[in-house]
Symmetry: C2
Protein backbone atom coordinates (compact mmCIF):
# COMPACT_ATOMS: atom_id res chain seq x y z
CA UNK A 1 0.00 0.00 0.00
CA UNK A 2 0.97 3.62 -0.32
CA UNK A 3 1.21 5.63 2.85
CA UNK A 4 1.36 9.37 3.38
CA UNK A 5 3.11 11.00 6.29
CA UNK A 6 2.11 14.55 7.16
CA UNK A 7 4.84 16.07 9.32
CA UNK A 8 8.33 14.73 8.61
CA UNK A 9 9.85 15.02 12.08
CA UNK A 10 11.18 12.51 14.59
CA UNK A 11 8.01 10.40 14.80
CA UNK A 12 6.70 10.73 11.25
CA UNK A 13 10.14 10.24 9.74
CA UNK A 14 10.96 7.22 11.90
CA UNK A 15 7.63 5.57 11.06
CA UNK A 16 8.13 6.23 7.35
CA UNK A 17 11.54 4.62 7.25
CA UNK A 18 10.59 1.41 9.11
CA UNK A 19 7.23 0.94 7.37
CA UNK A 20 8.86 0.94 3.95
CA UNK A 21 11.99 -0.96 4.94
CA UNK A 22 9.87 -3.72 6.50
CA UNK A 23 7.55 -4.02 3.50
CA UNK A 24 4.37 -2.65 5.05
CA UNK A 25 4.40 0.25 2.58
CA UNK A 26 5.37 -0.05 -1.07
CA UNK A 27 5.92 3.66 -1.19
CA UNK A 28 5.82 6.58 1.24
CA UNK A 29 4.82 10.13 0.36
CA UNK A 30 5.66 13.02 2.66
CA UNK A 31 3.92 16.32 3.33
CA UNK A 32 5.51 19.14 5.30
CA UNK A 33 4.80 22.85 5.65
CA UNK A 34 8.49 23.48 6.07
CA UNK A 35 10.23 23.16 2.64
CA UNK A 36 13.57 22.47 4.34
CA UNK A 37 12.17 19.54 6.33
CA UNK A 38 10.51 18.17 3.20
CA UNK A 39 13.70 18.44 1.17
CA UNK A 40 15.84 16.85 3.89
CA UNK A 41 13.34 14.01 4.33
CA UNK A 42 13.49 13.23 0.61
CA UNK A 43 17.25 13.61 0.38
CA UNK A 44 18.00 11.26 3.28
CA UNK A 45 15.48 8.76 1.98
CA UNK A 46 12.78 8.94 4.64
CA UNK A 47 10.15 9.36 1.91
CA UNK A 48 10.00 8.55 -1.81
CA UNK A 49 8.30 11.79 -2.81
CA UNK A 50 7.00 15.05 -1.40
CA UNK A 51 3.35 15.89 -2.11
CA UNK A 52 0.83 18.57 -1.24
CA UNK A 53 -1.89 17.71 1.28
CA UNK A 54 -4.43 17.37 -1.55
CA UNK A 55 -2.21 15.04 -3.57
CA UNK A 56 -1.46 12.98 -0.47
CA UNK A 57 -5.15 12.59 0.37
CA UNK A 58 -6.08 11.62 -3.15
CA UNK A 59 -3.34 8.99 -3.63
CA UNK A 60 -2.52 7.36 -0.27
CA UNK A 61 -4.28 4.37 1.30
CA UNK A 62 -3.18 5.23 4.83
CA UNK A 63 -2.32 8.69 6.09
CA UNK A 64 -0.32 9.41 9.25
CA UNK A 65 -0.78 12.85 10.83
CA UNK A 66 2.47 13.48 12.69
CA UNK A 67 2.44 17.23 13.40
CA UNK A 68 2.35 18.87 16.87
CA UNK A 69 -0.89 18.24 18.78
CA UNK A 70 -2.43 21.68 18.26
CA UNK A 71 -1.88 21.72 14.49
CA UNK A 72 -2.96 18.08 14.28
CA UNK A 73 -6.62 18.90 15.02
CA UNK A 74 -6.89 21.13 11.95
CA UNK A 75 -4.86 18.80 9.74
CA UNK A 76 -6.98 15.81 10.75
CA UNK A 77 -10.18 17.68 9.78
CA UNK A 78 -8.69 18.60 6.40
CA UNK A 79 -7.68 15.00 5.78
CA UNK A 80 -11.10 13.63 6.80
CA UNK A 81 -12.72 16.17 4.43
CA UNK A 82 -10.67 14.80 1.55
CA UNK A 83 -10.59 11.00 1.95
CA UNK A 84 -12.96 8.25 0.86
CA UNK A 85 -14.39 5.11 2.45
CA UNK A 86 -11.38 2.92 1.75
CA UNK A 87 -8.74 5.20 3.12
CA UNK A 88 -7.61 5.34 6.76
CA UNK A 89 -6.07 8.14 8.79
CA UNK A 90 -4.27 8.02 12.14
CA UNK A 91 -2.64 10.66 14.29
CA UNK A 92 0.31 10.01 16.62
CA UNK A 93 -0.14 12.83 19.16
CA UNK A 94 0.80 12.57 22.83
CA UNK A 95 -2.60 13.99 23.83
CA UNK A 96 -5.78 12.33 22.65
CA UNK A 97 -8.91 13.84 24.17
CA UNK A 98 -8.88 17.13 22.23
CA UNK A 99 -8.24 15.58 18.82
CA UNK A 100 -10.86 12.88 19.40
CA UNK A 101 -13.36 15.62 20.29
CA UNK A 102 -12.58 17.46 17.06
CA UNK A 103 -13.14 14.30 15.03
CA UNK A 104 -16.36 13.23 16.77
CA UNK A 105 -18.78 15.20 14.63
CA UNK A 106 -17.08 14.47 11.33
CA UNK A 107 -19.03 12.35 8.83
CA UNK A 108 -15.87 10.31 8.12
CA UNK A 109 -15.02 9.74 11.82
CA UNK A 110 -15.00 5.97 11.30
CA UNK A 111 -11.98 6.24 8.96
CA UNK A 112 -9.91 7.73 11.78
CA UNK A 113 -8.02 5.74 14.42
CA UNK A 114 -6.45 7.80 17.26
CA UNK A 115 -3.05 6.38 18.26
CA UNK A 116 -0.11 7.27 20.46
CA UNK A 117 3.09 5.31 19.88
CA UNK A 118 5.06 5.66 23.14
CA UNK A 119 8.54 6.11 21.77
CA UNK A 120 10.85 8.93 20.88
CA UNK A 121 13.99 10.78 21.80
CA UNK A 122 14.63 14.35 22.94
CA UNK A 123 15.62 15.33 19.38
CA UNK A 124 13.39 16.61 16.60
CA UNK A 125 13.20 17.23 12.87
CA UNK A 126 13.77 14.77 9.98
CA UNK A 127 17.45 14.46 10.92
CA UNK A 128 16.35 12.97 14.25
CA UNK A 129 14.39 10.15 12.56
CA UNK A 130 15.86 6.71 13.14
CA UNK A 131 15.31 3.06 12.37
CA UNK A 132 13.91 0.59 14.94
CA UNK A 133 12.86 3.38 17.32
CA UNK A 134 9.47 1.86 18.13
CA UNK A 135 10.52 -1.78 18.62
CA UNK A 136 9.33 -3.24 21.92
CA UNK A 137 7.39 -0.17 23.09
CA UNK A 138 3.67 0.30 23.69
CA UNK A 139 1.20 2.04 21.41
CA UNK A 140 -2.13 3.27 22.73
CA UNK A 141 -5.20 3.04 20.48
CA UNK A 142 -8.01 5.24 21.78
CA UNK A 143 -11.81 5.11 21.47
CA UNK A 144 -11.68 2.44 18.78
CA UNK A 145 -15.41 1.78 19.11
CA UNK A 146 -15.82 4.86 16.88
CA UNK A 147 -13.51 3.51 14.16
CA UNK A 148 -14.42 1.11 11.35
CA UNK A 149 -13.22 -2.46 11.91
CA UNK A 150 -11.17 -2.55 8.72
CA UNK A 151 -9.49 0.75 9.69
CA UNK A 152 -8.54 -0.62 13.12
CA UNK A 153 -7.28 -3.81 11.49
CA UNK A 154 -4.90 -2.02 9.12
CA UNK A 155 -3.62 0.18 11.97
CA UNK A 156 -2.99 -2.88 14.12
CA UNK A 157 -0.98 -4.40 11.28
CA UNK A 158 0.96 -1.16 10.97
CA UNK A 159 1.94 -1.23 14.66
CA UNK A 160 2.69 -4.97 14.48
CA UNK A 161 5.17 -4.07 11.75
CA UNK A 162 6.77 -1.57 14.12
CA UNK A 163 6.96 -4.30 16.81
CA UNK A 164 4.75 -2.37 19.21
CA UNK A 165 2.26 -3.89 21.67
CA UNK A 166 -1.21 -2.33 21.48
CA UNK A 167 -3.09 -1.11 24.54
CA UNK A 168 -6.70 0.07 24.16
CA UNK A 169 -7.77 2.99 26.29
CA UNK A 170 -10.35 5.75 26.47
CA UNK A 171 -8.88 9.05 25.26
CA UNK A 172 -9.64 10.79 28.57
CA UNK A 173 -7.93 8.04 30.61
CA UNK A 174 -4.98 8.17 28.22
CA UNK A 175 -4.47 11.87 28.89
CA UNK A 176 -4.51 11.36 32.68
CA UNK A 177 -1.97 8.56 32.37
CA UNK A 178 0.50 10.39 30.15
CA UNK A 179 0.29 13.51 32.32
CA UNK A 180 1.75 11.32 35.09
CA UNK A 181 4.27 9.17 33.27
CA UNK A 182 5.48 11.54 30.58
CA UNK A 183 4.30 15.16 30.67
CA UNK A 184 5.32 15.89 34.27
CA UNK A 185 8.77 14.40 33.62
CA UNK A 186 9.27 16.96 30.88
CA UNK A 187 8.22 19.91 33.04
CA UNK A 188 10.46 18.64 35.84
CA UNK A 189 13.35 18.48 33.40
CA UNK A 190 12.71 21.88 31.77
CA UNK A 191 12.55 23.52 35.22
CA UNK A 192 15.74 21.78 36.35
CA UNK A 193 17.57 23.06 33.28
CA UNK A 194 16.35 26.61 33.93
CA UNK A 195 17.46 26.43 37.56
CA UNK A 196 21.02 25.43 36.74
CA UNK A 197 21.35 27.65 33.67
CA UNK A 198 20.33 30.59 35.92
CA UNK A 199 23.08 29.73 38.37
CA UNK A 200 25.59 29.48 35.54
CA UNK A 201 25.34 33.27 35.07
CA UNK A 202 27.38 33.84 38.22
CA UNK A 203 29.15 30.47 38.51
CA UNK A 204 30.74 29.84 35.13
CA UNK A 205 32.01 26.38 35.99
CA UNK A 206 28.84 25.04 37.54
CA UNK A 207 28.61 22.30 34.89
CA UNK A 208 32.16 21.03 35.40
CA UNK A 209 30.83 18.67 38.05
CA UNK A 210 27.71 17.50 36.22
CA UNK A 211 27.62 13.71 36.10
CA UNK A 212 25.35 10.93 34.94
CA UNK A 213 22.54 11.61 37.40
CA UNK A 214 22.25 15.20 36.30
CA UNK A 215 22.33 14.28 32.62
CA UNK A 216 19.61 11.72 33.07
CA UNK A 217 17.19 14.08 34.87
CA UNK A 218 17.84 17.00 32.49
CA UNK A 219 17.95 15.13 29.17
CA UNK A 220 14.29 15.81 28.37
CA UNK A 221 14.90 19.57 28.63
CA UNK A 222 16.25 19.36 25.10
CA UNK A 223 12.76 18.54 23.83
CA UNK A 224 11.08 20.47 21.05
CA UNK A 225 9.16 23.60 21.99
CA UNK A 226 6.40 23.32 19.37
CA UNK A 227 5.55 19.78 20.34
CA UNK A 228 5.52 20.54 24.06
CA UNK A 229 3.71 23.87 23.91
CA UNK A 230 0.92 22.00 22.10
CA UNK A 231 0.85 19.18 24.65
CA UNK A 232 0.74 21.60 27.59
CA UNK A 233 -2.18 23.42 25.95
CA UNK A 234 -4.14 20.31 25.11
CA UNK A 235 -3.61 18.45 28.37
CA UNK A 236 -3.76 21.59 30.49
CA UNK A 237 -6.12 20.39 33.19
CA UNK A 238 -4.46 17.02 33.88
CA UNK A 239 -1.01 18.56 33.77
CA UNK A 240 -1.91 21.26 36.29
CA UNK A 241 -3.27 18.63 38.68
CA UNK A 242 -0.11 16.53 38.47
CA UNK A 243 2.13 19.60 38.64
CA UNK A 244 0.39 20.74 41.84
CA UNK A 245 0.88 17.30 43.37
CA UNK A 246 4.53 17.36 42.33
CA UNK A 247 5.13 20.81 43.86
CA UNK A 248 3.41 19.56 47.03
CA UNK A 249 5.85 16.63 47.24
CA UNK A 250 8.78 19.01 46.78
CA UNK A 251 7.42 21.08 49.67
CA UNK A 252 7.35 17.95 51.85
CA UNK A 253 11.07 17.55 51.15
CA UNK A 254 11.65 21.25 51.68
CA UNK A 255 10.00 21.24 55.09
CA UNK A 256 11.71 18.04 56.24
CA UNK A 257 15.15 19.28 55.14
CA UNK A 258 14.63 22.80 56.58
CA UNK A 259 13.58 21.34 59.93
CA UNK A 260 16.44 18.80 59.90
CA UNK A 261 13.71 16.23 60.38
CA UNK A 262 15.71 13.11 59.56
CA UNK A 263 12.84 10.77 60.24
CA UNK A 264 10.61 12.48 57.66
CA UNK A 265 13.41 12.70 55.10
CA UNK A 266 14.06 8.96 55.49
CA UNK A 267 10.35 8.23 55.31
CA UNK A 268 9.98 10.17 52.05
CA UNK A 269 13.01 8.52 50.46
CA UNK A 270 11.91 5.05 51.58
CA UNK A 271 8.50 5.68 50.01
CA UNK A 272 10.09 7.00 46.79
CA UNK A 273 12.37 3.94 46.68
CA UNK A 274 9.24 1.85 46.00
CA UNK A 275 9.63 2.95 42.39
CA UNK A 276 12.11 0.03 42.23
CA UNK A 277 9.06 -2.21 41.91
CA UNK A 278 8.25 -0.47 38.60
CA UNK A 279 11.60 0.41 37.08
CA UNK A 280 13.96 -2.36 36.11
CA UNK B 1 50.92 -0.40 49.46
CA UNK B 2 48.14 -1.65 51.68
CA UNK B 3 44.89 0.26 51.65
CA UNK B 4 41.96 0.16 54.04
CA UNK B 5 38.39 0.89 53.02
CA UNK B 6 35.95 1.84 55.75
CA UNK B 7 32.42 1.34 54.43
CA UNK B 8 32.08 -1.44 51.87
CA UNK B 9 29.25 -0.05 49.78
CA UNK B 10 28.95 1.06 46.16
CA UNK B 11 31.77 3.62 46.28
CA UNK B 12 34.15 1.96 48.74
CA UNK B 13 33.69 -1.46 47.17
CA UNK B 14 34.18 -0.17 43.61
CA UNK B 15 37.35 1.69 44.60
CA UNK B 16 38.71 -1.38 46.39
CA UNK B 17 38.25 -3.65 43.43
CA UNK B 18 39.88 -1.34 40.83
CA UNK B 19 42.76 -0.22 43.06
CA UNK B 20 43.88 -3.78 43.64
CA UNK B 21 43.17 -5.07 40.15
CA UNK B 22 45.19 -2.21 38.65
CA UNK B 23 48.15 -2.72 40.98
CA UNK B 24 47.87 0.47 43.03
CA UNK B 25 47.22 -1.60 46.16
CA UNK B 26 48.97 -4.86 46.97
CA UNK B 27 46.22 -5.70 49.41
CA UNK B 28 42.94 -4.19 50.52
CA UNK B 29 41.46 -4.46 53.99
CA UNK B 30 37.81 -3.67 54.64
CA UNK B 31 36.01 -2.32 57.70
CA UNK B 32 32.23 -2.28 58.01
CA UNK B 33 29.82 -1.91 60.93
CA UNK B 34 27.41 -4.24 59.20
CA UNK B 35 28.71 -7.85 59.48
CA UNK B 36 26.66 -8.89 56.43
CA UNK B 37 28.23 -6.21 54.24
CA UNK B 38 31.69 -7.16 55.49
CA UNK B 39 31.11 -10.84 54.81
CA UNK B 40 29.69 -10.23 51.33
CA UNK B 41 32.58 -7.89 50.46
CA UNK B 42 35.11 -10.57 51.41
CA UNK B 43 33.18 -13.39 49.74
CA UNK B 44 32.84 -11.62 46.40
CA UNK B 45 36.48 -10.55 46.51
CA UNK B 46 36.16 -6.79 46.97
CA UNK B 47 38.63 -6.99 49.89
CA UNK B 48 41.29 -9.44 50.99
CA UNK B 49 40.44 -9.31 54.67
CA UNK B 50 38.04 -7.71 57.12
CA UNK B 51 39.58 -5.78 60.02
CA UNK B 52 38.47 -3.66 62.97
CA UNK B 53 38.94 0.11 62.72
CA UNK B 54 41.94 -0.13 65.08
CA UNK B 55 43.60 -2.88 63.04
CA UNK B 56 42.94 -0.99 59.83
CA UNK B 57 44.50 2.21 61.18
CA UNK B 58 47.56 0.43 62.49
CA UNK B 59 48.33 -1.53 59.32
CA UNK B 60 47.19 0.45 56.26
CA UNK B 61 49.20 3.09 54.39
CA UNK B 62 46.15 4.75 52.91
CA UNK B 63 42.66 4.72 54.41
CA UNK B 64 39.49 5.53 52.49
CA UNK B 65 36.47 6.64 54.53
CA UNK B 66 33.46 5.65 52.43
CA UNK B 67 30.51 5.80 54.83
CA UNK B 68 27.50 8.18 54.56
CA UNK B 69 28.40 11.85 55.04
CA UNK B 70 27.04 12.20 58.59
CA UNK B 71 28.85 9.13 59.94
CA UNK B 72 31.98 10.10 58.01
CA UNK B 73 32.75 13.08 60.25
CA UNK B 74 33.05 10.85 63.33
CA UNK B 75 34.90 8.10 61.50
CA UNK B 76 37.40 10.58 60.06
CA UNK B 77 38.16 11.92 63.55
CA UNK B 78 38.70 8.39 64.87
CA UNK B 79 41.05 7.60 62.01
CA UNK B 80 43.05 10.83 62.44
CA UNK B 81 43.37 10.01 66.16
CA UNK B 82 44.94 6.65 65.28
CA UNK B 83 47.29 7.27 62.34
CA UNK B 84 50.90 8.39 62.11
CA UNK B 85 52.87 10.83 59.98
CA UNK B 86 53.31 8.47 57.04
CA UNK B 87 49.74 7.41 56.65
CA UNK B 88 47.10 9.19 54.59
CA UNK B 89 43.32 9.30 54.89
CA UNK B 90 40.70 10.45 52.39
CA UNK B 91 36.92 10.60 52.46
CA UNK B 92 34.68 10.29 49.40
CA UNK B 93 31.56 12.14 50.60
CA UNK B 94 29.26 14.13 48.31
CA UNK B 95 29.35 17.05 50.75
CA UNK B 96 32.64 18.57 51.80
CA UNK B 97 32.24 21.68 53.95
CA UNK B 98 31.03 19.94 57.13
CA UNK B 99 33.68 17.22 57.12
CA UNK B 100 36.46 19.72 56.36
CA UNK B 101 35.27 21.81 59.31
CA UNK B 102 35.45 18.79 61.61
CA UNK B 103 39.00 18.05 60.51
CA UNK B 104 40.29 21.61 60.74
CA UNK B 105 41.27 21.57 64.40
CA UNK B 106 42.81 18.10 64.36
CA UNK B 107 46.55 17.90 64.96
CA UNK B 108 46.86 15.40 62.09
CA UNK B 109 44.79 17.50 59.62
CA UNK B 110 47.65 17.48 57.11
CA UNK B 111 47.34 13.69 56.67
CA UNK B 112 43.76 14.12 55.40
CA UNK B 113 42.76 14.90 51.80
CA UNK B 114 39.04 15.65 51.21
CA UNK B 115 37.86 14.15 47.91
CA UNK B 116 34.65 13.59 46.00
CA UNK B 117 34.80 11.15 43.10
CA UNK B 118 31.81 12.09 40.88
CA UNK B 119 30.63 8.65 39.89
CA UNK B 120 28.09 6.14 41.05
CA UNK B 121 24.82 4.44 40.27
CA UNK B 122 21.44 4.45 41.98
CA UNK B 123 22.27 1.14 43.69
CA UNK B 124 23.98 0.57 47.02
CA UNK B 125 25.72 -2.03 49.17
CA UNK B 126 28.74 -4.24 48.36
CA UNK B 127 26.69 -6.10 45.70
CA UNK B 128 26.39 -2.80 43.80
CA UNK B 129 30.19 -2.38 43.57
CA UNK B 130 31.53 -2.66 40.04
CA UNK B 131 34.70 -2.46 38.05
CA UNK B 132 35.64 0.58 35.92
CA UNK B 133 32.93 2.73 37.48
CA UNK B 134 35.12 5.81 37.88
CA UNK B 135 36.84 5.80 34.48
CA UNK B 136 36.59 9.12 32.66
CA UNK B 137 34.74 11.00 35.41
CA UNK B 138 35.86 13.95 37.52
CA UNK B 139 37.10 13.87 41.11
CA UNK B 140 37.10 17.00 43.25
CA UNK B 141 39.95 17.54 45.71
CA UNK B 142 39.05 20.21 48.27
CA UNK B 143 41.10 22.63 50.38
CA UNK B 144 44.37 20.86 49.55
CA UNK B 145 46.41 23.75 50.97
CA UNK B 146 45.71 22.15 54.36
CA UNK B 147 47.05 18.74 53.30
CA UNK B 148 50.68 17.58 53.26
CA UNK B 149 52.24 17.50 49.79
CA UNK B 150 53.10 13.83 49.97
CA UNK B 151 49.52 13.03 51.02
CA UNK B 152 48.10 14.96 48.04
CA UNK B 153 50.59 13.24 45.75
CA UNK B 154 49.55 9.73 46.76
CA UNK B 155 45.87 10.65 46.44
CA UNK B 156 46.47 12.05 42.96
CA UNK B 157 48.14 8.77 42.00
CA UNK B 158 45.17 6.90 43.42
CA UNK B 159 42.73 8.86 41.24
CA UNK B 160 45.02 8.58 38.23
CA UNK B 161 44.74 4.83 38.69
CA UNK B 162 40.97 5.16 38.61
CA UNK B 163 41.26 7.22 35.38
CA UNK B 164 39.64 10.28 36.93
CA UNK B 165 40.50 13.89 36.14
CA UNK B 166 41.19 16.01 39.23
CA UNK B 167 39.56 19.38 39.82
CA UNK B 168 40.66 21.50 42.81
CA UNK B 169 37.99 23.47 44.59
CA UNK B 170 37.21 25.11 47.91
CA UNK B 171 34.93 22.90 49.99
CA UNK B 172 32.27 25.63 50.24
CA UNK B 173 32.23 26.17 46.45
CA UNK B 174 32.06 22.41 45.97
CA UNK B 175 28.91 22.18 48.06
CA UNK B 176 27.19 24.96 46.09
CA UNK B 177 28.09 23.26 42.81
CA UNK B 178 26.88 19.78 43.74
CA UNK B 179 23.63 21.18 45.17
CA UNK B 180 22.93 22.36 41.60
CA UNK B 181 24.22 19.51 39.47
CA UNK B 182 23.50 16.53 41.67
CA UNK B 183 21.51 17.05 44.87
CA UNK B 184 18.54 18.87 43.29
CA UNK B 185 18.30 16.15 40.61
CA UNK B 186 17.80 13.60 43.35
CA UNK B 187 15.07 15.59 45.11
CA UNK B 188 13.36 16.17 41.76
CA UNK B 189 13.45 12.44 41.12
CA UNK B 190 12.29 11.38 44.60
CA UNK B 191 9.34 13.80 44.37
CA UNK B 192 8.42 12.57 40.89
CA UNK B 193 8.36 8.98 42.14
CA UNK B 194 6.13 9.97 45.08
CA UNK B 195 3.73 11.82 42.75
CA UNK B 196 3.20 8.87 40.45
CA UNK B 197 3.17 6.23 43.19
CA UNK B 198 0.40 8.26 44.86
CA UNK B 199 -1.65 8.20 41.68
CA UNK B 200 -1.12 4.47 41.35
CA UNK B 201 -3.37 3.95 44.40
CA UNK B 202 -6.45 4.75 42.33
CA UNK B 203 -5.11 4.04 38.83
CA UNK B 204 -3.59 0.58 38.98
CA UNK B 205 -2.27 0.66 35.43
CA UNK B 206 -0.67 4.08 35.53
CA UNK B 207 2.75 2.60 34.83
CA UNK B 208 1.68 0.64 31.74
CA UNK B 209 2.49 3.68 29.64
CA UNK B 210 5.78 4.62 31.31
CA UNK B 211 8.50 4.98 28.69
CA UNK B 212 12.14 5.97 28.46
CA UNK B 213 11.65 9.61 29.42
CA UNK B 214 9.90 8.68 32.64
CA UNK B 215 12.51 6.06 33.53
CA UNK B 216 15.32 8.52 32.99
CA UNK B 217 13.85 11.25 35.22
CA UNK B 218 12.83 8.82 37.98
CA UNK B 219 15.88 6.54 38.03
CA UNK B 220 17.58 8.43 40.86
CA UNK B 221 14.55 7.85 43.11
CA UNK B 222 16.01 4.40 43.75
CA UNK B 223 18.93 5.98 45.61
CA UNK B 224 19.92 4.96 49.12
CA UNK B 225 18.15 6.68 52.03
CA UNK B 226 21.10 6.73 54.46
CA UNK B 227 23.41 8.35 51.96
CA UNK B 228 20.87 10.96 50.92
CA UNK B 229 19.51 11.79 54.37
CA UNK B 230 23.10 12.61 55.32
CA UNK B 231 23.68 14.75 52.24
CA UNK B 232 20.45 16.69 52.78
CA UNK B 233 21.48 17.36 56.38
CA UNK B 234 25.00 18.43 55.57
CA UNK B 235 24.25 20.56 52.55
CA UNK B 236 20.98 21.88 53.96
CA UNK B 237 21.45 25.57 53.23
CA UNK B 238 22.61 25.24 49.61
CA UNK B 239 19.97 22.62 48.86
CA UNK B 240 17.16 24.80 50.22
CA UNK B 241 18.29 27.70 48.03
CA UNK B 242 18.35 25.56 44.89
CA UNK B 243 15.10 23.83 45.79
CA UNK B 244 13.38 27.22 46.18
CA UNK B 245 14.68 28.30 42.76
CA UNK B 246 13.49 25.04 41.28
CA UNK B 247 10.00 25.39 42.77
CA UNK B 248 9.92 28.97 41.45
CA UNK B 249 10.69 27.72 37.91
CA UNK B 250 7.92 25.12 38.22
CA UNK B 251 5.55 27.95 39.20
CA UNK B 252 6.55 29.85 36.05
CA UNK B 253 5.47 26.82 34.03
CA UNK B 254 2.33 26.44 36.13
CA UNK B 255 1.25 30.03 35.56
CA UNK B 256 2.03 29.99 31.84
CA UNK B 257 0.15 26.70 31.31
CA UNK B 258 -2.82 27.75 33.49
CA UNK B 259 -3.16 31.03 31.58
CA UNK B 260 -2.72 29.27 28.21
CA UNK B 261 0.08 31.75 27.65
CA UNK B 262 1.73 30.07 24.67
CA UNK B 263 4.33 32.77 24.28
CA UNK B 264 5.61 32.31 27.83
CA UNK B 265 5.55 28.51 27.56
CA UNK B 266 7.60 28.70 24.36
CA UNK B 267 9.96 31.20 25.95
CA UNK B 268 10.56 28.93 28.94
CA UNK B 269 11.16 25.86 26.79
CA UNK B 270 13.46 27.76 24.42
CA UNK B 271 15.48 28.91 27.42
CA UNK B 272 15.59 25.38 28.89
CA UNK B 273 16.69 24.03 25.49
CA UNK B 274 19.96 25.90 26.00
CA UNK B 275 21.00 22.93 28.13
CA UNK B 276 21.92 21.38 24.74
CA UNK B 277 25.07 23.48 24.95
CA UNK B 278 26.07 21.50 28.06
CA UNK B 279 24.72 18.00 27.54
CA UNK B 280 26.05 15.93 24.69
Amino acid sequence: MKIGVIGLGLIGGSMAVDLRRRGFAESVAGVDNDPLHAEVARNIGLVDEVLSLDECCSTCDLIIVAVPADAACGVLSSVLDRIGDHQTVIDVCSTKEAICRVATAHSRRSRYVPTHPMAGTEYSGPWAAKENMFDGNAVILCDIEHSAEDAVAVVERLYDTLNMRSIHMHSAAHDVHVAHVSHISHISSFALALTVLDKERDEKHIFDLASGGFASTVRLAKSNKDMWRAIFTQNQENILTVLDNYIEKLHLFRTAIAESDNESVEGLITEANKIKRILK
